[in-house]
Symmetry: C2
Subunit: 355 residues, 2 copies
């Protein structure tokens, strides 16, 4: 068994891989593959509707919100939310907590004035700015809930007067969230939702039609909302696997259950990082991400030794992002705590032998 | 065995379903699913590069062209090509041969002046306009090579002075094409290339950076060209299955082979439509699509009988689009000629019993 700590695309439940694998040959006992049927068929419409319903159910999405599955990833989402949320002020507040937050801010700059009201760029994104406030002239506040590269996470969301728009790509479905605090939540699928190739948008219906600029057809959330997420051919397989994964989450106990599991995994690993003299975390302790733990060896000379040891233990995907260095262990929903224990054991063994 | 005549998403080779199904459990013998590995891993980069190379090889794409796999389908492509091909005139020529062509034309209207220089809307899109000419003030000519809904197809492409941009979503890889006649060819995957969720763009490299408007990051072909189609996380599975399908096409003899097979299938069905008194085609004979054959019963009273007969023969997906009525048999690359024969036999049987 491979212990897959990949930062994304990432591990999903084995049962999901198995069911998806079978559906590629024979879906719903139709004698057809899931990828060769019409997206207008009753069978696929049922998949799309179940996927949307599961998002609503798992996150307790209020009735006045809609849920869509679109293409383009969060990167296209940066532009989509800018177009849909720009208002008469044509000015928006962005929090810069990392590479993705910065890219999101840049996209708004094509339509209006981007106001970076807080940033952690001064310390290589190793912390989350606090005491966020917006002004009356901000159309909205945009931030990134979890920073995959830097390994930081908002533990408490801002409480501001402007409508909030959040890119939750790397921690959606990992913890409880009060959806009604946000006007728009969006997320690329390839962490806790499904395979790469779709993104989920959760938004207050009354934001539609309020933009102060003309929105191109495909970037207008209203286009897709009017057609129940089927304006054009959806990414059938990515939506199907997302549905299977959300079904798995529900069957196991939902967000309340996974939040507790994710906390146990994070506690296990961060405890080792803090107590093992050979390792040190790269972020402020209070802002540590439960999804992506970033850490360094305190003795660089042990790099090759440690790398061989974790590779021998069948651990995969823990090399750190080049902008941070060291290691990054991503512990998304489907990663079993046993895999974290294997990593911790390797860290302990390194300390015993070389500490 | 189901005879899958679906208009798209549509049939792909059984061997492709099988290999994709296996890769969902264990890809490249990594002990990991194709959808849980990093898109930056050597294994997936190899998939993306093989997919791009296969497009180049199969269509004999000249060296001065690039090939990208992007998200959003052809519907987002309407906007992408408008942004990338608009020049100082801010005016483009469009041929309106159906619902998709019309949607493409509408998207350009957000940036400049759309000039519908030819249309077959007067006869419900049942023919292809001929003698196309562009003016000096047209930035480009856009047309749709095959009209999935109406069942028409350009047998000869226009020969004009303006750069040509073509949406080949429903017949790319089905017949030979002289790529150098076009500045941009683009196509949603879900007919002859792969599953829904990606689109291919084939374009002259020297179109990049020539737009007369500012292009949003994700809609700029240059963004993706600079990063070898990996600017953001690509739709991993859709690209992988497209690669498998293109590999299948190459192994079986490439475009030259499939063009001949597709001609045989089309001849078989259209011959029956023309010779069976109970059926009639809906389009001008010279403009008939080899991909989507549209036809009507001459005696409406036989509708239920015919519908039962083809359903009993395990035929799926031949109900016509609501705007045309009757029947539509889509005969994409992977549909075996045996399936067409089964349909023809049912049509013959209907005539024998009720003609």
């Amino acid at each position: 068994m491979v212990h897959n700590f990949s930062a994304g695309p990432c591990i999903l439940p084995q049962s999901v891989f198995k069911e998806a694998s079978e559906a590629l040959i024979n879906f719903d006992d139709l004698g057809l593959s899931i990828i060769e049927i019409s997206h207008r068929s009753a069978n696929f419409v049922a998949v799309m509707e179940e996927a949307r319903s599961l998002v609503k159910e798992l996150l307790h999405v209020p009735d006045e919100y809609d849920v869509l599955f679109l293409q383009g990833g969060a990167s296209l989402g940066f532009l989509t939310v800018a177009y849909n949320m720009i208002r008469e002020n044509k000015k928006a507040a962005y929090i810069n907590t990392g590479a993705w937050a910065k890219k999101a801010a840049k996209e708004f700059g094509q339509l209006g004035e981007t106001d970076i009201i807080a940033s952690s760029e001064d310390r290589n994104y190793s912390y989350i700015p606090k005491s966020i406030e917006t002004g009356d002239d901000h159309d909205f506040l945009h931030f990134t809930s979890n920073n995959t590269i830097a390994g930081t996470q908002f533990k408490q969301f801002p409480n501001v007067s402007a409508p909030m728009v959040c890119d939750m790509s790397s921690d959606i479905f990992s913890r409880k969230v009060n959806v009604s605090d946000f006007d728009v939540i969006y997320a690329g699928a390839q962490k806790n939702m499904g395979p790469a190739g779709t993104a989920v948008y959760i938004f207050k219906k009354d934001i539609l039609g309020q933009s102060s600029v003309k929105i191109p057809t495909m970037l207008d959330l209203n286009t897709h909302a009017q057609k129940d997420s089927m304006f054009n051919t959806p990414p059938v397989f990515a939506v199907y696997v997302s549905m299977l994964n959300l079904r798995w989450l529900k069957q196991n106990g939902g967000i309340e259950w996974i939040e507790s599991v994710n906390q146990q995994k994070a506690d296990l690993l961060y405890n080792e990082i803090d107590n093992n003299p050979l390792f040190t975390g790269t972020t402020d302790v209070e802002d540590r991400s439960n999804m992506n733990a970033t850490f360094l060896l305190t003795e660089e000379a042990l790099t090759d030794t440690f790398n061989s040891m974790w590779a021998d233990a069948n651990i995969s995907g823990i090399k750190g992002h080049r902008s941070v260095g060291g290691y990054r262990a991503s512990m998304y929903n489907a990663l079993p705590i046993e895999s974290v224990q294997v990593l911790v054991d390797v860290m302990k063994e390194l300390a015993q032998k070389h500490g």
